[in-house]
């Protein structure tokens, strides 16, 4: 027996460090969109079952976040934005993140199957696999289209919520998926524009690194345009309504104006005002998703009260 114990990294992890492995901020978006997907579905579920569905979808999302942090330890260490994460800062060891990620993945998928149905659990398992393996291990370091395809992982939660309630995928679920899928690239590229050196130093082939800022500005504009028909189709679908329609037009218009001003700028102007417009559009894009899904929720409530128009 030794008299002293050396704690690697100099600081033993607290409970909060393990919670941070689950990316709580990403989780909040997952919880909200899965909640909307579950609530707008035509078949109601028992509140306890609904709560369990959201809880296990959120735990599954957190598990994939832990697996991502385990795999991306080397990149996170280099990038300023991620250097404070539990593993690069030495508070949690990489193998702990792997173990927590695997354990929570198994728990969340099995528990979602038991509380709702096998289809929802299968989709959750696929989402975790997609984010941890397809996105983190493969696409992120190999192609500038990384976040375009990888965005699918973040787009699945409302669909899983819908399937948890109904047992199958439908047009409405696909439209909710597509809304997040088309929204992810302009959202991340706006971030990448003012984080360029970070990705460059870490050798991650973001569009800003491989094709430059001007190409990224064009891409943001095109994806924001493509987002509009999806948002409109969602508003006109059976889960949409007047509130979603107004939200779709206003939010998409606003997002497009932001993308247009990003497109009209060049790096010199952006540097001179410290990427003020890019930062503003990035923040607005988060609001866009919350308000758009919030509008779906308002329309669902109106339908329940008998005030639905379509």
């Amino acid at each position: 027996m030794s008299d002293t114990t050396v704690i690697p990294g100099g600081r033993e992890a607290g409970f909060g460090d393990y919670v941070a492995l689950l990316k709580p901020r990403v989780m909040s978006l997952v919880i909200f969109t899965a909640f909307v997907g579950l609530l707008v579905a035509p078949m109601g579920v028992h509140p306890v079952v609904g709560f369990c569905a959201i809880l296990f979808i959120a735990i599954g999302a957190g598990a994939s976040g832990a697996l991502n942090m385990w795999w991306d330890e080397d990149i996170d260490r280099v990038m300023k934005r991620t250097a404070g994460r539990p593993i690069p800062s030495g508070r949690v060891e990489a193998h702990e993140a792997l173990e927590i990620g695997l354990a929570l993945s198994g728990l969340s998928v099995v528990m979602l199957a038991l509380s709702t149905n096998l289809a929802a659990a299968g989709l959750l398992a696929f989402t975790i696999f997609f984010y941890a393996v397809i996105y983190s291990m493969w696409l992120k370091r190999s192609t500038p289209q990384n976040i375009v395809i990888g965005g699918a992982a973040g787009a699945f939660p409302p669909m899983i919520g819908w399937v948890a309630a109904t047992g199958s995928v439908s047009v409405e679920a696909v439209l909710m998926f597509l809304l997040i899928f088309m929204w992810t690239p302009p959202h991340f590229w706006a971030l990448a524009l003012f984080m360029k050196s970070d990705y460059h130093n870490a050798d991650v082939p973001m569009l800003t690194v491989t094709h430059g800022h001007d190409a990224t500005r064009r891409h943001i504009l095109v994806y924001t345009l493509l987002l509009f028909p999806v948002s409109l189709a969602l508003a006109l679908s059976s889960i949409g309504g007047p509130v979603t329609l107004v939200a779709a037009i206003l939010l998409s218009g606003w997002f497009f104006l932001g993308a247009w001003s990003i497109f009209r700028r060049d790096t010199e102007t952006a540097v001179s005002d410290k990427y003020a417009v890019e930062k503003r559009v990035f923040r607005f894009s988060l609001l866009y998703l919350f308000l758009h899904f919030g509008a779906l929720l308002v329309d669902a409530t109106l339908r329940t009260l008998g005030w639905g128009i379509w």
């Binding site: 033993e12 992890a13 607290g14 409970f15 919670v19 028992h46 306890v48 079952v49 709560f51 509380s115």
Partner: protein
Amino acid sequence: MAISRTHELHSRRLGRNVGVSLALGGLVVVVFALTVVKVTETGPVEGFDHVVRPALELKAQ
């Protein structure tokens, strides 16, 4: 010999233990609530139990 001086490390360990306990306790509550809902929602269940069940045979006809 009992530890007479506490270190910042001890409070962090306590926090971790309390956190894990609460998480596990929460999981037990969730599983119990889910079980109650699943059992009550399914309604009365009559299954094969090694003896003749006239009620089931009547239903089958």
